[in-house]
């Protein structure tokens, strides 16, 4: 039974990784840049959830939408004020695009960490949990209430995102811009709005991931660094810009870590992702689901 328990736990961790990684890979898909402040979206979500439910005394369930709104606002503001220069004047920024994106998003990450550190304080907070049930059995395996809720919300969010991208007009516009920004804008698609949508969706997913995990992680200003590192590993493994790829890679990494922590080494469980990353870069650099990347 241990193996089944490990597998299910790994999948749940994988679903949480997927929430983080999907937003990151969508941003890469549409702007061809990596958002190095992604972990801070997660951190802000965790803090908003915790502070809203503790300060206002509302039930934690009502704090979840607040976290989602904070993520959406942060995503919108990042896109509006920091990412616009990447594509306003299309083409003229081509040369220094990578430099600008890395430096600015990394600067934003530092800024948010230190602002929260200054305003809220450096000490970890205790996040309220959504469910007091610590162990319940579903069929053959045991699971905590909080984990079950996390898994269900994560699945609902991922399915909703897939439906949004495949079926809605805005979602299809986002896909078009990811395929060819210039072509999409010639066809009359508002590319700026598509980028905004992607950043807001990415912010919502990361903030909700933080909120759902707040009772487990106990938010502190630098809590976002590690989940972000994991999602960077995942988007490369899955193939940069590929949403199905990042979901598969996230689940794979979750299960791998869950088994590895028990059968290989608990202390070094976080290194498995890096090993997998190096193997993928050596053997299949375009990632599991990616299109062939340009090799020079």
């Amino acid at each position: 039974m241990l193996a089944l328990d490990l597998f299910v736990n790994g999948l749940i961790i994988g679903l949480f990784y997927a929430l983080m990684a999907v937003g990151l890979t969508m941003i890469f898909g549409i702007l061809k840049i990596v958002n190095f402040a992604h972990g801070e979206f997660y951190m802000i979500g965790a803090y908003t959830y915790t502070l809203v439910s503790l300060a206002l005394g509302v039930p934690p369930w009502l704090a979840l939408p607040a976290a989602a709104i904070s993520g959406a606002l942060l995503g919108w503001a990042t896109e509006r004020w920091l990412m616009r220069p990447l594509y306003e004047g299309y083409g003229s920024w081509g040369l220094m695009k990578d430099e600008y994106a890395v430096v600015v998003t990394f600067g934003l990450s530092l800024l948010l960490i230190n602002l929260v550190d200054k305003i809220v304080g450096p000490y970890p907070m205790r996040g309220p949990s959504l469910s007091e049930v610590t162990r319940m059995s579903i069929g053959p395996f045991m699971i905590s209430g909080q984990k079950l809720i996390t898994a269900i919300v994560a699945i609902v969010l991922l399915v909703a995102l897939a439906l949004f991208l495949k079926r809605s007009l805005w979602g299809r516009q986002v896909q078009a811009v990811a395929q060819n920004r210039l072509g999409a804008s010639i066809a009359g698609i508002d590319t700026a709005r598509a980028s905004s949508i992607v950043f807001m969706a990415s912010g919502v997913l990361a903030a909700l991931a933080g909120a759902l995990l707040a009772p487990v992680i106990n938010p502190s200003p630098d809590v976002g660094i590690f989940p972000a590192v994991k999602s960077y590993v995942i988007v490369v493994i899955g193939g940069m810009g590929s949403i199905p790829g990042s979901i598969v890679a996230a689940l794979l990494l979750g299960v791998l870590e869950s088994f590895g922590a028990v059968y290989l080494s608990y202390d070094y469980r976080d290194t498995f992702g890096l090993v997998l990353l190096i193997l993928v870069l050596l053997l299949r650099p375009q990632g599991l689901f990616g299109e062939r990347v340009r090799e020079v």
């Binding site: 890469f28 061809k32 840049i33 990596v34 190095f36 920091l82 220069p85 040369l95 220094m96 990578d98 430099e99 600008y100 994106a101 890395v102 430096v103 600015v104 990394f106 600067g107 934003l108 990450s109 530092l110 800024l111 960490i113 230190n114 602002l115 200054k118 630098d222 660094i225 590690f226 590192v229 960077y232 590993v233 988007v235 490369v236 940069m240 202390d267 070094y268 976080d270 290194t271 992702g273 890096l274 990353l277 190096i278 870069l281 050596l282 650099p285 990347v293 340009r294 090799e295 020079v296």
Partner: protein, 329 residues
């Protein structure tokens, strides 16, 4: 119409920057004559450690357009190379310190060889993951590294003044290495790769090899800086490799001026000294620097150095225009 081409333009620009960099370094060499407070000497020593990391990172980011997010992690690896060699095997610093150049350099070589085949954001992503996980491994390998207790390292020289000149000498050496690379053909290859990677490859430049060499040199400089810092602090700990430390390095280079020889030097000293002063105001230094990074990256790509140069050039142009106007009248 044939445009007049100044074939030595890059070299002239570089020589001018080297002269200014040497002036800055000479000013640093004179500082201990006026400063006797051990506290401020310590601050300056640490700022020179950061200046070395900045010089190493700038070679990669400013001149090659490749973004490593692990300069602090490679400094940590260098510090631990020296520290572990002395702790476990009593290897003297005369061998331990060169090892701090070789070992991080080789790790960088292997990592770079794997990642730099790809263009795009792969280096930044992989080095960030590598940095966090390397720190975690050192933190968790308590039997070998003593975890977060850190390792005691024997000092190379005792007094603050001696340490000051030791780090200054290393900083001068690092600056000269970068200058020599930029003057050699490889320096032009690197800048060509930064400006247009595909174009550079199409002109027959072995892009992967050039990028890997730059990454190797950058990691070696960072490793050596870490090794020296360890002998000054007489303690190495996993804290050296924190992402926030990399953030400080990036802030220094971006504020000082990316892709210039002088920028990282003035950026490192100004940022670190300013951060010591802001600490007293209420620990707002990182907020200020993060904001400055965003503003400089957005509006002033060449940092303070670029602003200063443009101001001088602007004044010269204005005097020239005034002179011309007078002549015309």
């Amino acid at each position: 119409m044939a445009l007049p081409v100044n074939r030595n333009f890059l070299r002239d620009k570089l020589a001018q920057e080297l002269r200014l960099a040497l002036v800055v370094l000479a000013c640093l060499a004179l500082l201990p004559l006026g400063i006797s407070s051990p506290y401020w000497l310590g601050v300056l020593i640490v700022s020179m450690y950061f200046a070395m990391l900045s010089v190493g990172w700038n070679l990669l980011a400013g001149y090659t357009g490749q973004f490593s997010l692990a300069p602090a992690a490679f400094a940590m690896l260098g510090a631990y190379t020296t520290g572990l060699a002395a702790w476990h095997w009593q290897i003297p610093l005369a061998i331990g310190l060169p090892l701090a150049i070789v070992v991080p350099g080789l790790i960088g070589l292997v990592l770079g060889r794997i990642v730099l085949r790809l263009s795009g954001p792969y280096l930044a992503l992989t080095t960030l993951a590598f940095a966090e996980i390397a720190r975690l491994v050192i933190y968790n390998s308590i039997d070998f590294t003593r975890g977060d207790q850190g390792l005691n390292v024997p000092p190379l020289v005792e007094s603050h003044v001696a340490n000051y000149y030791l780090l200054l000498a290393a900083l001068v050496a690092a600056t000269l290495v970068v200058y020599a690379m930029l003057r050699a053909p490889i320096g032009r290859y690197l800048q060509a790769i930064r400006d247009d990677e595909i174009g550079a490859a199409s002109r027959g430049i072995d892009v992967v090899r050039a990028k890997t060499i730059a990454f190797f040199v950058s990691c070696a400089i960072c490793g050596f800086a870490g090794g020296l810092y360890g002998t000054f602090a007489q303690l190495v700990s996993p804290e050296l490799g924190l992402i926030a430390q990399t953030g400080i390095v990036i802030a220094m280079v971006v504020i000082g001026g990316m892709g210039t020889l002088v920028g990282p030097l003035i950026g490192a000293v100004l940022v670190y000294v300013a951060s010591e002063m802001l600490r007293d105001v209420g620990n707002i230094q990182m907020i200020v620097f993060a904001l400055l990074v965003i503003v400089f990256a957005r509006f002033f790509r060449e940092g303070l150095w670029g602003l200063a140069r443009d101001a001088v050039a602007g004044r010269r142009a204005a005097t020239a225009a005034a002179a011309a106007a007078k002549e015309a009248r």
